[in-house]
């Protein structure tokens, strides 16, 4: 049996920073019918030229508006604060979009994108990659199977020393976005919570360490009907990078990036390791699955793995957190005044 070659797709990748060059472009460049019709866009002429050379793009531009009508689909990988603006330009022209997470930095903008996609019947997908991770998927399957019983507690602790090769510093310091690890890693972690539970919990407390700039450590406490939880995030230290879902009849624990197994503990205390046999077997494979899913959705062959509408609850949680932020008690910082007085 032979397959007909896939219909060629002209994909525009907007933003040629680290995520485009390490994730989207390598995946696209390996697909027949796509690799020969790649468009790369970046406001920085040097960066777009480098991406054009490296991935043999057939077209390069410094303004995404110049390529909207030449693209069958777009991947939006610009800095977070520009996601909504760029994605909206494509959606209004009826061009399907895969947007990096978070879909937008406000609920209002994210909702407007979803509405625009709905109005045009256009695909709007979000790259909330955690949903492709086998341990995260397995945890959801366990909750949905009902075998954990009603959920009582949810925990995610995710942190590592930040080393993402950012092309710009708009996140940090004076004139920065004022939104750090919560908006970045929290967009994944809170989406996991909402996806697992099938609802948006209410925030009971939010603490972070921003002092007029962007937070590097954040702690979200939340609750729902019969359960409570915490999401603990850090850009400054390594945390377990693990989750724990405690139900009335059992508990599932796993590493967010575990590819081989999760742990299941029955309410009686017996614990066992459950081997995962995932479709996605290692991190480098994730990009191929994300892109294949998006292209399939563009061709009408499948639904997007993470439709824009499904991330609205997590974006609402992030927005609510920022609206009620409290500062962690940090006595090692609070002595600045005392130190200064001593010195002067």
């Amino acid at each position: 049996m032979t397959h007909a070659p896939p219909v060629p797709l002209r994909i525009a990748v907007v933003g040629c920073g680290a995520i485009a060059r390490s994730f989207h472009l390598p995946a696209l460049a390996s697909i027949r019918g796509v690799a020969d019709h790649l468009t790369v866009v970046d406001r920085d002429p040097g960066r777009v030229a480098a991406a054009e050379r490296e991935f043999r793009a057939s077209r390069a531009a410094t303004d995404h508006r110049d390529v909207i009508h030449e693209a069958d689909a777009a991947i939006v990988a610009v800095p977070q604060e520009f996601h909504a603006e760029v994605a909206m330009d494509f959606l209004r022209a009826g061009v399907p979009v895969l947007c990096e997470k978070p879909l937008a930095t406000t609920l209002e903008h994210a909702s407007a994108l979803v509405a625009a996609a709905d109005a045009g019947g256009t695909v709007l997908a979000v790259n909330n990659t955690r949903r492709f991770y086998p341990a995260v998927r397995a945890a959801r399957e366990w909750i949905q199977s009902g075998r954990l019983g009603p959920i009582r507690r949810v925990e995610i602790h995710e942190g590592a020393s930040f080393n993402w090769p950012l092309a710009g510093g708009s996140t940090f310091g004076r004139g920065g976005t004022g939104k750090g690890v919560l908006q970045d890693v929290g967009a994944h972690a809170l989406d996991m919570v909402c996806w697992w539970l099938g609802e948006r919990p209410r925030i009971t407390r939010y603490l972070d360490d921003a002092m007029g700039g962007s937070e590097a450590v954040a702690r979200v406490e939340f609750a729902g009907d019969g359960y409570a939880g915490v999401v603990h995030l850090s850009w400054l230290s390594r945390l377990p990078n693990a989750f724990r879902l405690e139900g009335q009849q059992g508990t599932v624990e796993g590493g967010i990036l575990a590819w081989d197994a999760i742990r299941l503990t029955a309410a009686g205390g017996r614990s066992r390791r459950l081997r995962l046999r995932p479709e996605v077997r290692s991190f480098p494979q994730v990009k191929d699955h994300v892109i294949a899913n998006f292209l399939g959705a563009v061709r009408g062959e499948c639904r997007p793995a993470v439709p824009g509408r499904e991330v609205l609850p997590s974006i609402a949680m992030i927005e609510e957190c920022y609206g009620r932020r409290e500062r962690f008690p940090m006595p090692w910082l609070d002595i600045v005044r005392e130190t200064s007085d001593v010195a002067l």
Partner: protein, 369 residues
């Protein structure tokens, strides 16, 4: 005479000491700060404050001149490999001379005195030993001297063992080893003097060096004022983070283990330096490789190195009489206080385990996203 109308440039602001300098200077009324970092990813800590952050490769004189525009004074904390340390310092000094800044405070190190013992005052000779870090810091100091002769008001600070929040070498690393049940040299091998300096004492000395006219053109030891042994420090740290005192027995077995692991440590460092990318690619793809690499890394982290043995036996002390006399410096952080603050910082960042009920989940690698 801290400049109030012009910002203070802090180089190496993404690092342990530079980061704290930025935090403290920002907290001073009327002081504005320009923080320079080598890459944006190292701006996370100082990015929590509304300070100006600029990207600057210290070895590029053009970039350094640009970072120096409109600056009133400089705190030079940046260092790197020997070339970056020396050429970065040269670029900073030259740009500061051209910009006619009021003061440059250059962060040197106690290591410039070499491997000698005894009480070391500032006029002790600087001794190269072939260790690239030490030799490049000596060369950087000599450059400072040359620029002093050309009229640039440079003040050199020689801090000792600087510990506290964000200290990877003397706080985080030791605490992690204690929590993991790792070993240290035995009591008999830890009787050298630990010249322990809480980071805020150093920053106070930096502010004084910026502020006092007497600081220009001179070098100053900056140290805590308690003479304690490494054994005392390690035990105080252990108790501060809620663990028992160290077991000081079986020094010979520990020495043998440290010596046995030395080639593994050296090989791992060389291989990682040369083949980081392919190794990380294998690490990401293979759970078996992840387990193997974590186990080697764990063994290295839990075992004292031969360098540690040399350091922990060394009897050397840096008095601060000159800093006290000319700058008005005095340590405000006895070890008990510095360790209490360090412990609360370690706890906050999860280095001592989670504040919430413990999790049993597997510890995974850093997420590439």
């Amino acid at each position: 005479m801290l400049p109030s109308d012009q910002p203070i440039l802090v180089t190496g602001a993404g690092g342990f000491i530079g980061g704290r300098v930025v935090e403290v200077l920002h907290g001073l009324r009327g002081t504005s700060v320009r923080a320079s970092v080598r890459r944006w990813s190292s701006a996370v800590r100082i990015g929590r404050l509304p300070v100006e952050i600029v990207l600057c490769d210290m070895t590029d004189p053009r970039q350094v001149r640009s970072a120096m525009e409109g600056i009133g004074a400089v705190v030079h904390c940046a260092y790197g490999d020997p070339h970056a340390t020396v050429e970065g310092t040269r670029a900073v000094l030259q740009a500061a001379l051209e910009a006619r800044v009021d003061r440059v405070v250059h962060l040197s190190t106690m290591e410039v005195y070499g491997e000698v013992e005894g009480d070391l005052l500032e006029d002790a000779p600087l001794r190269s030993t072939g260790w690239p870090y030490r030799d490049s810091k000596i060369e950087a100091e000599l450059l400072c001297r040359r620029y002093v002769d050309r009229g640039l008001p440079v003040s050199i600070l020689r801090p000792t063992i600087v510990y506290g929040p964000f200290s990877r070498d003397w706080t985080v690393g030791f605490a992690e080893r204690l929590v993991a049940g790792g070993t240290f040299p035995g009591r008999a091998d830890c009787q050298g003097t630990c010249n322990l300096l809480y980071v805020d004492d150093l920053v106070a000395a930096i502010v004084l060096a910026l502020d006092r006219n007497e600081a220009a053109g001179d070098a100053f030891n900056v140290n805590g004022e308690e003479r304690l042994t490494w054994w005392q420090y390690l035990n105080d740290l252990s108790r501060a983070i809620g663990l028992p005192s160290l077991n000081g027995g079986h020094p010979l077995a520990r020495r043998v283990r440290a010596a046995a692991l030395a080639p593994v440590r050296a090989t791992a460092r060389r291989v990682l330096a040369r083949y980081r990318e392919p190794i990380m690619a294998v690490y990401q793809r293979s759970p078996v490789a992840q387990r193997l690499m974590r186990s080697v890394e764990g063994a290295i982290r839990r075992t004292p190195s031969t360098v540690e043995y040399r350091l922990f036996r060394r009897n050397v002390f840096l008095p601060v009489d000159r800093a006290r006399g000319l700058l008005g410096y005095g340590s405000q952080f006895p070890v008990s206080r510095g360790l209490a603050l360090s412990a609360s910082w370690l706890r906050h960042h999860g280095f001592l385990g989670l504040p919430e009920p413990p999790m049993v989940g597997p510890r995974t690698g850093e997420d590439p996203l």
